[in-house]
Symmetry: C2
Subunit: 252 residues, 2 copies
Amino acid sequence: MISIHPLCDIPEIRAGDDLAAVLRDSLAKAGLWPLQTGDVLVVTQKILSKAEGRMVALDSVEPGAQALELAATTRKDPRLVELVLRESSSVVRAVPHVLITRHRLGHVMANGGIDRSNIGPGDEDRALLLPLDPDGSARGLLAALAGPEAAGIGIVVSDSFGRPWRHGVVGVAIGAAGLPALVDRRGEEDRDGRRLEVTQIALADQIATAATLVTGEGAESVPAALLRGVALPEGDAGAGALVRPLEEDLFR
Amino acid sequence: MISIHPLCDIPEIRAGDDLAAVLRDSLAKAGLWPLQTGDVLVVTQKILSKAEGRMVALDSVEPGAQALELAATTRKDPRLVELVLRESSSVVRAVPHVLITRHRLGHVMANGGIDRSNIGPGDEDRALLLPLDPDGSARGLLAALAGPEAAGIGIVVSDSFGRPWRHGVVGVAIGAAGLPALVDRRGEEDRDGRRLEVTQIALADQIATAATLVTGEGAESVPAALLRGVALPEGDAGAGALVRPLEEDLFR
């Protein structure tokens, strides 16, 4: 049995806050401290980005020529589009109200992962970028919360993505530590001894999505969750392992 | 707190089996019967398809001209390709070892959702098609397991899909009842009073993915799971609501 616990008692996070300490306090208040084998702590991108000071004042952004052109196409704020371009390696799709890029971290997503809801009161003129290195941040949190000898304990940094061909967002992992974000089962057999047709499992995405059942998106937003009782396979690979290079993409 | 319970004591399912009775027995053995408000029972496509007699002997399939051509391109069994074409409304991508189509249910997926692993001993020459009407089947299971006055109890029929741009499969919903498969939050505000940027949530996909953390894919395959403690929003829309029409697709 796996349980998913919302971590509710988390104050508004500001740049420079010690996020590990905040999470430890919240886990303790919920009776979930210390972490134990089979625990995966899911931290939403938003509080990690805030702690890492990734908030940008839009007034400080000077849109370049490409941003101005894309802003006209997409009908978006040119300063926001400039930030998206700075965060991205290529533009996948730009039409009215839609700007999809490949983020420098490799993920294909809308608006460069830049967030403008629940970023704090009075933040009409600010934007929140993704963390610089979410896999590295996950490793840092794991070391701080589970110690150097942690085994069978994981951290996932989550975000919400839309998807081709399907309505609605689901959770995805943009950072992970202490677990194999991608589980490779090629060569294993099913219970009748046939070779498995499904061979790679996006474990960190599955965990991020499970957590969204308690973290939510709106006014009741909960910025972190603990999954307890997860049978973590051996291995340790960050969310970078989930990124499929554009030239390997099978759907286009 | 949400808990996810694997349902392990499920015998090999055969065409015509009373799946609702089998699931009720399994829930009772696990101490999870009767169902209660906040429960969502996730049933993998495989056992639903088996119960509905969707197994096809490949020897009975005569490949047509298009199947022969696509089989040569994809290097797949022409009889399997014929079945995929019969199950699909259009071909999205066909290259060596890859055949992605839009299924007649609307989902874009590999091999028409046809399954050849864990379909039973000695089944080298058989293939398992998706259920004919997974949303209808979900409604039938809900009525049988929760009664006509069920409130706050849901059924999700799950499958595993690959995705563009990301490695590894995750769970998706191909059928749902008793809950809104897609939650539309357009017009709601975040906790700072800003309009929510993320406005549609693929609830049934989130639930299907959470269940995959206990159902797995390999020899230890568990064919159903119960989520307990889910805050289900009001509404009842099947998994058809998750399908984005091709002409609305934003990523291509």
